[in-house]
């Protein structure tokens, strides 16, 4: 049975119908048209589907779509403000932190959630912050460097 779900997506009010048992990832991609969270494993292991729910990072593939009723969902598609990229997006480009790009949107959401909570993380805290996101291309070092550079830029500003 389909259920109406109203919520905010990257600050904009949205409404769509969720199928019974549908997960938030499928709901966002097929029902709402936000293709930025990716389907990786469907088991909560890879983190490619990471979105924020009321500001905290969660796995969209393990979140029941109808459970976001009245709540705020954030995705990588909401990071840029118009033509202005989020500093993390710029840093990922500068540090070659994306290769195939499949993990990148989930990484960006996890990294943004980390920096919002802790603007000056240590290297270990960055590693911990992205521990729920798998990348099979980069070896993680460029991603860690990109996130650290944003934290350091902010510290200098």
């Amino acid at each position: 049975m389909k259920k109406p779900v109203t919520f905010t997506l990257n600050g904009s009010e949205r409404a769509a119908f969720a199928d019974g048992g549908q997960n938030l990832l499928e709901f966002l991609r097929r029902g709402v048209g936000d293709l930025s969270p990716k389907y990786g494993c469907g088991q909560g292991t890879c983190g490619a589907c990471t979105v924020t729910l009321d500001g905290a990072p969660v796995l969209a593939c393990l979140t029941l779509a109808e459970a976001v009723q009245g709540r705020a969902v954030g995705t990588a598609a909401g990071l840029a403000k118009g033509a202005t990229l989020d500093p993390l997006q710029e840093a990922f480009m500068d540090h070659f932190a994306a290769q195939c790009g499949y993990c990148t949107t989930g990484m960006l959401v996890s990294a943004r959630a980390l920096l919002d909570r802790n603007p000056a993380p240590t290297r270990d805290e960055v590693i911990e912050g992205i521990a729920g996101n798998l990348c099979r291309c980069t070896g993680y070092e460029p991603i860690i460097a990109a996130i650290m550079s944003v934290a350091e830029q902010r510290a200098r500003a």
């Binding site: 049975m1 259920k3 199928d19 019974g20 048992g21 997960n23 469907g42 088991q43 909560g44 983190g47 990471t50 729910l53 905290a56 990072p57 969660v58 796995l59 593939c61 393990l62 979140t63 029941l64 109808e66 459970a67 996890s110 959630a113 980390l114 590693i127 911990e128 912050g129 992205i130 521990a131 729920g132 996101n133």
Partner: protein
């Protein structure tokens, strides 16, 4: 086709549970839903009591819906931070709950290991309380858990270690929790629990017998290590063989005891 039923109270959800699966944080059940192997009916509730943390004197009660992130956000639960911090990645800790961890299949369930060592009791909806270690023995038929309750351990009497091959986010080769109060220089009321060393988190009775009534010294720790594997039934899986788990259980137990003695 999956049907999701949402109830306003835990009691209503419990009444509707027959033949259905209960959805808490989603990290266990939604995997089955995605794979098409979950029961057709799913029951959930938004009962606010589920996410309550109550600290009254030395008694701590955690609602079954309290997440690992909630535990980590509370300074008065600092002794549980080493446990909650090593469960999943940041996303799983936002979602995964205390109640769900009791039902997480091998090799998951590290929080349940800590609860067993703490002697926690699970409050069951409409069915009184039952020790968490008893609940573990037949998890498939367990009723709905409302909360878990336990006494705050005294300083430096509780320790936890998770052994995993991938860091910082790896599943358990094994996890160990120890409650070892010292009275007059001797261990009294020792409780040791192991995770991933049997079909479910369980007491380490061999280690407990070796520690109980003894002093906190190298000879006691060596003897506890020698008997660590007794009563356990470790599985062979992709992470480790049963033989390996049995061989290293004593080593990790001894290291944890030494760490606790150093106050770390």
């Amino acid at each position: 086709m999956t049907t999701v039923e949402t109830y306003s109270t835990l009691a209503e959800a419990a009444r509707a549970l027959s033949g259905a699966a209960y959805l808490g944080g989603g990290t266990v059940l939604m995997r089955d839903v995605n794979a098409g192997t979950a029961p057709a009916r799913i029951v959930r509730t938004g009962d606010p009591a589920l996410s309550e943390v109550r600290v009254q004197g030395d008694t701590i009660s955690l609602g079954a819906g309290v997440t690992m992130a909630q535990v980590l956000a509370r300074a008065d639960l600092a002794f549980l931070h080493p446990v909650a911090r090593v469960i999943g990645g940041p996303q799983v800790r936002q979602m995964g709950t205390v109640g769900g961890n009791l039902f997480a299949p091998h090799p998951y369930g590290d929080f349940a290991v800590a609860l067993i060592a703490l002697g926690a009791k699970a409050q069951l909806v409409g069915q009184g309380a039952r020790a968490v270690e008893e609940l573990m023995r037949d998890r498939t038929r367990a009723p709905l858990v409302a909360s878990v309750e336990f006494a705050r351990p005294r300083e430096r009497t509780f320790g936890f270690a998770k052994v995993s091959r991938v860091k910082p986010k790896g599943v358990s080769v094994m996890s160990i929790a120890i409650l070892a109060p010292l009275e007059g220089g001797r261990f009294r009321g020792v409780r040791v629990a192991f995770g991933a060393m049997g079909p479910h988190p369980m007491r380490g009775s061999g280690a407990e017998r070796a520690l109980e009534g003894q002093g906190a010294d190298a000879a006691t720790y060596a003897n506890a290590a020698k008997h660590a594997g007794e009563g356990l039934d470790p599985p062979t899986d992709a992470l480790a063989t049963a033989w390996y788990r049995r061989e290293v259980a004593g080593v990790h137990l001894r290291r944890l005891l030494e760490k606790m003695e150093r106050g770390q």
